[in-house]
Symmetry: C4
C-alpha cells in the first residue's frame, strides 16, 4: 500500500480547487445562480432522486462511449457547454478549452460571450467539431455577423439560447459588484456594444432582443446554412413548438440555474420534453452533470447527450487546457465504466428501463 | 470589476438587518409564530416544493406587473398586508409605510392595531388606494366607529380577519414578556379598551368577539358601503361560505403562522380554495412571500394577488419609509423580471400551466 | 414591555429541565427508546407530517375540552399514560401524579411497575378516576392479586399491555448499566419476584407471560368486573381481534418507541385501526404527544382521546406534583385554544375533515 | 443501578471501533463505496423508509430464528457475506471468521479474494456449512481450479458474483493510494496473476472476465456439482433470466455500494425480484444490514435470508474471531427479539403483511 499524494480525482475536487484559485467576483459569476440558488442546487440534487437499474451478465468486454450528436461523431455523449469569459477562468481561455475538447474527442460549444473570436477558437483545434452559441441581439446585424464568422470558421451548428430575454437576478454578482474586468476582451460583445469596456451581466443581456418569438427563431433556422438547436426549453409545449419551427435539436436547460430561480431541474423536465419530441429531433440536456452516472441517467431518460459547463470550466480554472482535458477524460472514463457496470456496451444500449 | 460595498439586495438581507436593529421583544413579536413555529417555517418552505414552468420565445419586450385587485389598479399583484404596531418597527410607522406603498403604486392594508388613526394614514398618502383591516370587537360600537373612520378617510375596502377569535400561543412573546410599550399609542385599541396602556397580544385578542359567525360576517358585509374581504380562510368549505355570505374577496392566510400552529402553508391550500371559489370573487393569499417568483407561483395557482407583511416591515425597520419603499421596489422588479423569464408579459398571462 | 424571567412554557422546556435534573441512568430509562430510537423520534415527527384544517367564523365563545372516555367524564381528551417508577422521577411519585391528574380533571393510568401500591395511589386522590395498567405475568396469581387490589382501590378500568412479551432492546439502559435503584420499591414487582431488589428492565419483562394470546386476553376480559382495554395495538388486524375478544377499548401504541424499533408512529397507524374498529369501541392513542395541536390531530383521525406519558413525567421530574399539574394544565389550555382556533367548541366537533 | 463500563452493544459501536483500529488505506477499502457513496449510504437509509407491522398476543414463548437456506440448516436467516482480505482486517482472518460463523450456527461465504485457501478455511471449522464466492476469471483455468478446491474442501454452494466486470470507482482507495499490502497473501489471486504481489482493486478486477453472459453462467451452473447462486441481481428482468439459466438462488446485491454508484438500495429492489422469481428459487439480499429489524424487513419483503458483510467484519477488526462471533451473536439475539416483538415465533411466520 502506498500513500501517494494524489491530484483531483473527481469533479468536486476540481470545484474546490477552482473556488480556491478564483477571486470572489469571477468565482461568484461562474459558480453562482439566480435568486436563492434553489434551482442551482436542485440541478445537482435531482440526480440523487433517480436510481439506475443495472443489468448483469451482458458482454461488456468491448465498451465504448462513442456516439453521434446531430450526426457528429463524438467520443462520448457529453459536449462542452457554452461558458462565457473563459480567459477570466484561465489565460488559456477558449483556445485551451477547444484543444481540451478536441483531445477528449468531443464537441465544444463556444459562447457568444467568448473572450476569443470564432476564428481564434477554430485555429486552436482546427480539426475538432465545434458549435456556436448565439443570442439574438436587438441589433440583428451583430447576430448576423457573428453567425457569418462562425460559418466561416467551420462551426457545424448553431445553438440559440432562448431563456435569457433578460439577465437573471444573480445576487452573488450584485454582492461582489461584478463586472467583466477591463483587461478581458469579448470580441462579440465589443462588436455589439461598439467597444464598451467593463460590462455587467445585466448590461450584456440588455443587448439581447427580448421580443424574439418562435417565428423569429424559425426565421433564423431557415436562413442558416447550419443546423440550429434551441437551448433553454423546459416544457413539453415549447418542445413541440421547437420542432414545428425548425429546430434541429432541443437542449433542455435552465441556464445552469442562472436565469429564473424556482424552476425544476432539467433532468426532471427531460421526460416530458422527450415524450413531446417523440424522436423527431435529438434532445440534449444540461445542468448538474458531475458524474458519469449522471450522464447515463440522462440517456436513460431519452437524451442523446448532455452538455457540461461548470465541470470542464473548473478544470480550466485549476489547470488551464490540461485541467480541462483531465476533467473531460475523467468524465469519459466514468461514462465508460458506468456503461460497463450498467450492462450497456454503448450509449445506444441504454434504455428507459435502465433508470427508475 | 469593482468590489463596491453594497446595501441589502433581497428580502432576506432586510430580515437580517431588522433582526439586528430591533430589541428582543419587538423582534419576537414581529418575527415569531405560534407554538413550535412549524407553520411559520412551512409558509416559506412551501414555495420550495413548487416549481415554475417557464415558456420561451414569447415577446417580453414590454413587461408590466400592473394589474387590478377588486378593480383597484396596482403596479403589481402584491399588496402591503396589515401589520400591527408599525411605529414600534420605526418612528415612520404607518404613515411611512403608506407613503412607501403609494410610491410603489400598490395598496396598503392598514391594521386595526395601527399606531396611527385611519385619518393620519390617509393624510400621509391621500391619493393612494388603501384598505382597512378590522376585527369584529365584542363591543360592536368600537368596530362601527373604526369602520366609519375608515370610510370617512377614503379607505376603499374592508378586510375582516376571522382567524383570531383568540390569540395564538406565541411563545417568543411569553419568553420576552412582550407587551406593547406604553409609549406606543394604538388609537383603535385605546378606543376599544377605554385607554389602557400596556397590553399583551393575548389581552388584545380578548377584546375580539369569538362568537362571530358567517351570519355576523354577512351582516357586516351588507351594512358596509365598501367591499368586504374575509381574511383567514384555509379550506374549500369556508371559501364557499365566504362567497355565499357576501365576501367581495377571499384572503387565504394563516395569519403568518401566528395563530394555530400545525396548519398547512397558504400556498398549499390555495388550490382548493381557488377551485371552490370558481372565479366568483378574487382570491388573495398571504404568508411566506419573499421573492418575486413566490408571487408568480401564487398567481399560477389562481391567486389574483398576494399580500406581503413581514417583507415591507423589515424594510420599514431597517430604513423607515425609504426602506419599505426599497423593499416594495425590489419585489416589483423581481416580479417583472420573473414575468419576463416565465414568458408572461402581464400577470394575466400566468396560468395554471406555469407551475408544477 | 417587561422582560420578566419566565418559567417553562411548553413541554419541550420541561423536557430540558428533566434532562438536567435526572442522573444518566434514570434519564436514559425514561427518555430512551429501543434500538436506534428511530421509532422514538418518529413518534414525535409524525405529527409534523400532518396539518390541521381550521374552520373560521364558528361561534367559539364557549369552548370546552371536556369529554368522556369509556363513559368517564374528563376535562380534556388527554389521560396520563402509565409510566413506571415515578418515585425515581421525583419523591412525589405516583401519589403526586395522581393528585396532579385529579387537579387537572383527568384519568391517571397507574403502571404495574409503580413505586406505590394501588391503595396508596387511590388514597392520594380518592375522588379522581383512575385506571390500572397490567401485565399478564407468567405467574397468574400475581396478576390476579394485582387486579384485585386495583378493584378494591376503586380503579375503574384495566389496561392490558400486550406489546411486551419481552423487553425491547433499550441501549441507553445497557450503556448506563441501568437497574432500578435498590431504594426504589416496586410493590407489584416485589410481589412477582418474591422480593428481589435491583432489577433491570430485561429481568422485569422476563416475568411477563410471552404465551398470552387473544384467547387469554378474552379470559381476562371476561373474568374482570372492570372494562378491559388493550394497549399496544398497531394493526387493523389486531384491532378487529381486540373487539372480537372483548376489549372495551383499544389503545394504539408502540410503547413510546421502547419495544420494537422500526415500527410506524401511532398517529400513522391510527387511521387503519379506527377504520377497522368502525365505532364499536373507543380508540385511544399514545406516543409523541407534545402539543395541544397533536391531540387535535389524533381526534381528527378518530381517536377518542390520547395518553401522554413523558409530558407529565417531565413535569413530575422538574417540579413534583406541582410540575406535573402545570404540564397537564398547559396541555389543557393548549387543547382548548387549539379547539377554538380550529373552529370546534368541543372535542366532539372535531372531524376527519379537520386534518389533511 | 450500576454504571458498569460496557463493551460494544450494537453494530454501530463495532463500526466505530473498526474505524479507530484500521489504518486509512484498509479502512477506506472496507468501509468505502463507489463514486459519491450515495448508494453506500442509501443501502442503510432504505431500511429507515420501511416500517414493521407488529402483531400482538401471539404465543412467543418459544421463538427460534432457525431456518434453512438452500436446504442448509442455519441458526438464523443471516449468513456471512463474502468479504475480501480478512487478514488485512485482523490476523485471525478467514479462519477466525469461519470459526465465528460456525459458533453462531450460520453459513460463511468465503471470498475469492480470501487471504486463506479454501482448504485452510475448511480446516478452521470443518463441520460448519460454507459456501464459496467466485469470479469468473478471464483465465477459465483459474476459476476451474478454485472451484475444484472448494468442492474438495467441502464447500456446499457456489456464489457467482456478476456485478463486477470492472472495478467500481472507489475514490477512497484512490485517495489513500490503496493497494493490498505485500505481506497479505491472496492465494487465489496469486494463482490468477502468477504470483504478483501488491495489487489494487482495479488491477484485480481486470482479471475478471467482462464477457461473461447468462449462457456462460448457465454453463458454470451445469458443470458444477454444487448449487450455484448468482450474486448481484438488481432487476426483475435479470431475476427471471437467473432462474431460466439454472441459478439455484438469487442474491439481490449492489456489492455493498462499491460498484455502480447511483443504484437503488437492495431492499428497495427486493420486491420486484421476489415477484419475478415467484417462489421458484430462494432469494437472498445483502447491503445495509445493521440490525435484527433490518433482517425482518427483508424477510417480510420475501427474502429467505440476508447476507451481512461489514457487520461481522467490524467484529473481526475489533476483536478477531471473538469480535466476529460477538457480532453474529448480537445479530442473532436481535433477530430473535424482533421476531418475538413482531409476533412471529419463526422466520417462516413473517409475511408481507408484517411490513409497510
Amino acid at each position: 500500500m502506498t500513500a501517494a499524494p494524489l491530484g483531483p480525482c473527481c469533479i468536486a475536487d476540481y470545484e474546490r480547487l477552482a473556488a480556491d484559485v478564483l477571486a470572489p467576483g469571477p468565482w461568484g459569476y461562474f459558480a453562482g445562480g439566480a435568486g436563492d440558488e434553489r434551482t442551482l442546487r436542485d440541478n445537482v440534487a435531482a440526480f440523487e432522486r433517480r436510481s439506475l437499474r443495472p443489468r448483469v451478465l451482458v458482454d461488456v468486454s468491448e465498451v465504448s462511449a462513442a456516439t453521434t450528436v446531430l450526426g457528429v461523431p463524438v467520443s462520448m455523449p457529453l459536449l462542452v457547454a457554452p461558458v462565457a469569459l473563459q480567459k477570466m477562468a484561465h489565460p488559456d481561455g477558449e483556445a485551451g478549452m477547444a484543444r481540451a475538447a478536441a483531445a477528449a474527442g468531443t464537441v465544444m460549444i463556444v459562447s457568444t460571450i467568448a473572450t476569443s473570436t470564432p476564428a481564434e477558437v477554430a485555429a486552436a483545434a482546427p480539426e475538432a467539431p465545434r458549435w456556436f452559441q448565439v443570442y439574438s441581439f436587438r441589433d440583428r446585424g451583430v447576430t448576423r455577423r457573428l453567425v457569418d464568422q462562425a460559418v466561416e470558421s467551420g462551426f457545424r451548428a448553431l445553438v440559440v439560447t432562448v431563456d435569457a430575454p433578460r439577465a437573471g437576478r444573480r445576487e452573488r454578482d450584485l454582492r461582489t459588484g461584478f463586472a467583466v474586468p477591463p483587461e478581458i476582451d469579448m470580441p462579440a460583445v465589443t462588436a455589439a456594444t461598439g467597444g464598451r469596456a467593463a460590462i455587467t451581466p445585466e448590461e450584456f443581456f440588455a443587448l439581447v432582443d427580448p421580443s424574439l418569438t418562435w417565428d423569429g427563431f424559425a426565421h433564423i433556422a431557415r436562413e442558416s446554412s447550419l443546423p440550429v438547436l434551441v437551448k433553454g426549453v423546459q416544457t413539453a409545449e415549447d418542445a413541440r413548438l421547437a420542432v414545428e419551427h425548425g429546430a434541429a435539436g432541443v437542449i433542455v436547460s435552465n441556464h445552469g440555474g442562472r436565469q429564473l430561480d424556482g424552476v425544476a431541474a432539467p433532468i426532471d423536465v427531460l421526460p416530458e420534453v422527450v415524450e413531446a419530441i417523440d424522436g423527431r429531433v435529438e434532445v440534449l440536456v444540461d445542468g448538474g452533470i458531475r458524474r458519469g452516472t449522471d450522464v447515463l441517467v440522462a440517456l436513460a431518460l431519452g437524451a442523446r447527450a448532455v452538455l457540461a459547463g461548470r465541470a470542464p470550466l473548473w478544470g480550466l480554472v485549476a489547470g488551464g487546457e490540461e485541467g480541462a482535458r483531465h476533467v473531460l477524460e475523467l468524465l469519459h472514463s466514468e461514462i465508460e465504466l458506468a456503461l460497463a457496470l450498467l450492462g450497456c456496451p454503448t450509449p445506444g444500449a441504454v434504455t428507459r428501463a435502465h433508470v427508475n
